[in-house]
């Protein structure tokens, strides 16, 4: 077989692989980048690193395939020289001065010095270990797992409180019910992903109560429903969602739930709680005044 042909097929194989993999990679990267934020950056960096990695492999392959000369290229010579210096190796020409008098099934042993960089690396790791143990367990200047966790939570709570104080989030006092179809549709999506296992696909109630009738255990209306979803009712099995859903998402799902009133799903769970009557100034009137886009 013609060697150039062989190379050709080898390269087309590699290129095929790379093309197929980069298409796959693009799929991963795109949605993440859309989400923006730090994660988007990380994806970019990851993608760049990956392609760099592939590039290095390609270069290696090229270097390997293009080497037809019998001579060692000067760059390799330079490398051998540097590594010889770093390692304090005895040059190959003088090898017989340090060869040991043993022969194990034809294997001989030299007795080169320990490479200095290696020796100091070893010392450095020992020093590192001593400092590590001292700081964690003797002087206690570094926090152990529990302390580290408490600090992480403290900082996060501080930031959240500051943000909340600035009025950045919707809360149970400011929330209004949304009526536009787009918000209701998004609310439905959130409901389907999170709530159906207990409340049923059509909110007819399974473990949790029926959400389509006029009866409410913890009060109806957008403010009460928002609060119930947000804080949960722990003794009744309703979990708190504020760690999982943003306040705007809780508003959306609460609005969706309220939109189901009177939808009469199949197999409804019997009413629980009391009939809820909207106060005189209803949320819906207020909501009409506010554009949902303002949120």
């Amino acid at each position: 077989m013609n060697p150039s042909n062989r190379n050709y097929s080898f390269w087309s194989f590699i290129i095929l692989l790379l093309v197929s993999s980069s298409t796959l990679l693009a799929q991963t990267a795109v949605p993440a980048v859309e989400q923006g934020g730090d994660l988007g950056k990380v994806f970019h960096i990851g993608a760049m690193l990956f392609f760099l990695f592939v590039f290095v492999i390609l270069l290696t392959l090229i270097a390997y395939h293009n080497r037809t000369d019998e001579e060692i290229p000067s760059i390799m010579k330079a490398w051998f020289w540097i590594s010889g210096m770093l390692n304090k190796s005895t040059p190959i020409e003088k090898e017989n001065e340090i060869i040991l008098n043993h022969d194990y099934d034809g294997i001989k042993e030299l007795d080169n010095l320990l490479p200095p960089w290696w020796k100091y690396l070893f010392y450095a790791t020992i020093v590192f270990s001593a400092i590590y143990i001292y700081n964690y367990h003797i002087s206690n200047v570094w926090a152990l797992s529990e302390g580290e966790y408490n600090e992480e939570v403290r900082v996060a709570n501080q930031q959240l409180n500051d943000l909340a104080a600035s009025g950045a989030f919707i809360n149970e006092k400011t929330v209004v019910a949304l009526k536009d179809p787009a918000s209701i549709a998004t609310g439905k999506e959130i409901f389907t992903r999170n709530c159906t296992s207990c409340h049923g696909a059509n909110a007819q109630g399974i473990i949790g109560p029926n959400l389509t009738d006029d009866y409410w255990i913890n009060g109806g209306g957008i403010k009460n429903v928002f609060r119930t979803i947000s804080n949960g009712v722990l003794d009744k099995g309703m979990i708190s969602w504020k760690g999982q859903l943003k306040s705007s998402e809780i508003q959306l799902v609460a609005s969706y739930v309220l939109s189901l009133k009177g939808s009469k799903p199949q197999n409804p769970k019997a009413p629980q709680g009391e009939i809820w009557v909207e106060p005189v100034v209803s949320d819906s009137l207020k909501a009409e005044g506010n554009s949902p886009k303002a949120l």
Binding site: L25, T28, G46, L49, I107, W118, S129, Y132
Partner: protein, 706 residues
């Protein structure tokens, strides 16, 4: 001096050569199957025995103990005879060793798909097989020591030092980690519980890497590399320093698998610092290997054997640098439970062990069959497909691991999780999983080609059954040797000193964890499992759930928010074995109890995608059909009591009725959701167990998540 004539036995080497090649294909094929199953769950064809969670331990066991294990013995039987200038100690024991080891592998290949497992990683095999392993390992030890005693070479070469350390340490690790109380022929419970079990298990697990995948292979490198390169070993003093520091330091590093877990902090810190101190000793092996090639680099380009070996040693250097980096707490916080670890172990297994084995095979087979390699082109093809396979595998898994971990930890400004639904972080990785499978397929292709090539090589030559050699007998020592050369000529002393070296770390870490009460503060609310939950736990173990689900919430804000209160040491005191897991392909289950109704679990097990659209978990529909063996309950209660679980006296007699009452209540509850199921089915026990998880410790602010 009178020369003695003797013969090296090649037939035992040939047997292990064949076994190595056969198991390499089996192990890697199973690996490829599970790599595909992770994005095509239907590839289990609805059969329990071929489901990911049962094949995953089969893959790890087949690669480690079958492929690499046989590779070790292949290299051992070839090199030990030549390094000792003596025939192997006993031909009969050679054959017992060979067939015994293959029998163990076959037992593993049968029992693991059947769900007969201890649930402890890389130590899944049940107690009868554990005993067999011990016996065969003793045979291996006798072969080593016996051959050393009748050797004609006064000094033991560095390869032999590594063999001695391997034989001693693997025996200690295997026995200590496998102390278990049998309940029946196919079921046992480890004597250790919770944190202690975790410490012992990862002391074992980590040092299985050290003394099964590293030291014997370093031994092989020291023999086959200078042989293949025809160059003297670079530095004898480096061999000494890196050998002793490696075996002494390695044994301490196990707790780095348990960083941020409920293991006491001091033990975690020891795991970290000893891992960092391992960089130089590990690299000592790499340097001695690579620098041995000084003056032979022109050969590396031509000789496929050396190419394989150079990549193997480089992969070893990369993996042994990465390992200590992963032991740093901040890196570990990111990488643990993700695919990063999968990438790390495959650089080791495919690069270091795989490529060194292939290098040895390409050197050994032509010599033993007195011929030339059948096709250099095919061997080169193997090299490049294998190399690319590793590259694709590692790159995709690194990226996958980092991606998922960052998604787990990402918060919104409002303090909610950016990706509260675990599945979203998994589905993001599917393209990476496809690239990984391509990498695996490439590597397997290369392996298949090598088997063909080596088969044709052997066919083209004639097998040399015995090789004749001559050497003078060993005389009694008269001169006084000093320093290291003293111990090099004394196998028994060498064995004893290395035993002491490898015992220290384990003793220092384990004894306080077992004896000092403050290391595992008790929690009064933590109660033993009910009989049904205990049975459910065994269902969980048999199905291999631990392959994909951890039970260890780490003390990070993101994990507490996602799963609930982080894990406390006192919660696991009745867990024989611990089930913390090492990989989160699915979410953590430590706080699963009460998060979903029984009906959710039922539907989810029957068809996961109905409850989590897009889920890559395979259906476990057979749990709805298979009956629970209720009759085993009293025996299990008795066994647990012997291990210290405080079931009241006589409880075993009423355990079955207690179990049935709880099963009834779950059946009744399911009925409310229009699910009709018999109370004897395994699913009922599994639901009972899942609903119990994490319920014992009440927390101030219960959390939730998916």
């Amino acid at each position: 001096m009178q020369l003695e004539t003797f013969r090296y036995d090649n037939t035992i080497v040939k047997k292990f050569v064949i076994a190595t090649m056969v198991w390499s294909i089996v192990g890697m094929l199973v690996g490829l199957i599970i790599a595909l199953q992770i994005f095509i769950p239907e590839l289990n064809f609805g059969i329990p025995y071929t489901t990911f969670s049962r094949l995953r331990p089969l893959h790890t066991n087949a690669v480690i103990f079958a492929f690499i294990g046989n590779g070790i013995f292949m290299g051992f039987y070839y090199s030990i005879q030549r390094l000792c200038k003596a025939r192997i100690f006993s031909d009969l024991l050679s054959n017992i060793h060979f067939w015994g080891w293959q029998f163990i592998i076959v037992c593993a290949a049968i029992t693991l798909p059947l769900g007969i497992t201890t649930g402890k990683e890389y130590a899944e095999l049940e107690w009868p097989i554990d005993i067999l392993i011990t016996l065969i390992w003793v045979v291996f030890a006798i072969q080593l020591v016996g051959t050393l005693i009748k050797r004609r070479e006064k000094h033991m070469y560095v390869t032999i030092w590594f063999f001695i350390a391997t034989v001693v340490t693997v025996a200690v690790l295997h026995i200590v980690n496998s102390i278990e109380l049998p309940v029946s022929f196919t079921k046992s419970y480890p004597v250790y519980a919770g944190v202690q079990d975790a410490l012992v298990q990862w002391w074992y697990g980590h040092n299985a890497v050290a003394f099964f995948l590293t030291t014997p292979y370093l031994g092989l490198m020291y023999y086959f590399l200078p042989k293949a390169a025809n160059r003297p070993v670079y530095s004898y003093r480096l061999s000494i320093i890196h050998f002793w520091s490696l075996i002494f330091l390695y044994i301490w590093a196990g707790p780095h698998h348990l960083l941020y877990s409920a293991l006491p902090d001091w033990a975690q810190s020891l795991g970290t610092v000893f891992s960092i101190m391992l960089i130089a000793p590990s690299w000592g092996g790499m340097i001695n290997g690579l620098l041995t090639l000084r003056g032979a680099w022109d050969k590396v380009r031509e000789d496929v054997v050396l190419k394989f070996m150079v990549v193997a040693i480089t992969a070893y250097g990369m993996a042994t640098f990465e390992g200590p980096m992963l032991s740093l707490k901040n890196v570990n916080a990111l990488a643990h439970f993700t695919d990063w670890i999968i990438a790390h172990v495959h650089v080791g297994a495919l690069g270091w062990n795989g490529f060194l084995t292939f290098g040895i095979l390409y050197w050994l087979v032509p010599r033993m069959w007195n011929t030339q390699i059948y096709s250099k082109r095919l061997a080169n093809f193997h090299f490049w497909t294998g190399f690319l396979g590793i590259a694709f595998y590692a790159a995709s898994m690194y990226w996958s691991g980092v991606t998922q971990s960052l998604m787990w930890k990402q918060f919104t400004p409002e303090g909610t999780l950016q990706y509260p639904i675990f599945l979203d972080t998994v589905l993001q990785l599917i393209p990476m999983y496809i690239i990984r499978a391509i990498g695996g397929a490439l590597f397997l292709t290369g392996t298949i080609v090598s088997v063909y090539n080596l088969y044709k090589t052997a066919k083209s030559g004639t097998f040399i059954r015995e090789e004749e050699a001559q050497a003078a007998p060993l005389l009694k020592e008269v001169t006084k040797a000093k320093g290291h050369s003293w111990i090099e000529s004394r196998p028994i002393q060498f064995l004893l000193v290395s035993t002491v070296a490898i015992l220290i770390g384990g003793v220092v870490e384990m004894i306080p964890t077992f004896l000092v009460k403050t290391n595992i503060p008790t929690i009064a609310a933590v109660k033993p499992y009910t009989p049904l939950e205990l049975q459910g736990r065994d269902v969980y173990i048999a199905q291999g759930c631990v392959s994909c689900h951890s039970q260890m919430v780490r003390p990070f804000r993101s994990e507490v928010q996602r799963y609930g209160e982080y894990a406390k040491a006192g919660e696991f005191v009745y867990d024989h074995p611990f089930l913390w897991g090492s990989k989160r392909t699915g979410p953590d289950l430590l706080r699963e109890g009460g998060k979903y109704p029984n009906s959710w679990h039922f539907n989810h097990m029957q068809a996961p995608t109905t409850m989590s659209p897009g889920s890559i978990m395979p259906p476990f529909a057979w749990l709805m059909e298979d009956n629970l063996d209720i009759s085993s309950t009293p025996d299990k209660i008795i066994a647990m009591r012997k291990l210290g679980v405080p079931y009241p006296d006589g409880f075993e007699q009423k355990s079955i009725s207690v179990l049935e009452a709880q099963a009834d209540s779950i059946v009744v509850d399911l009925k409310k959701s229009n699910i009709t199921i018999d109370k004897n089915k395994q699913i009922i026990a599994l639901i009972a167990y899942l609903q119990r998880l994490g319920r014992d410790i009440k927390t101030a602010q219960p959390q939730n998540g998916k």
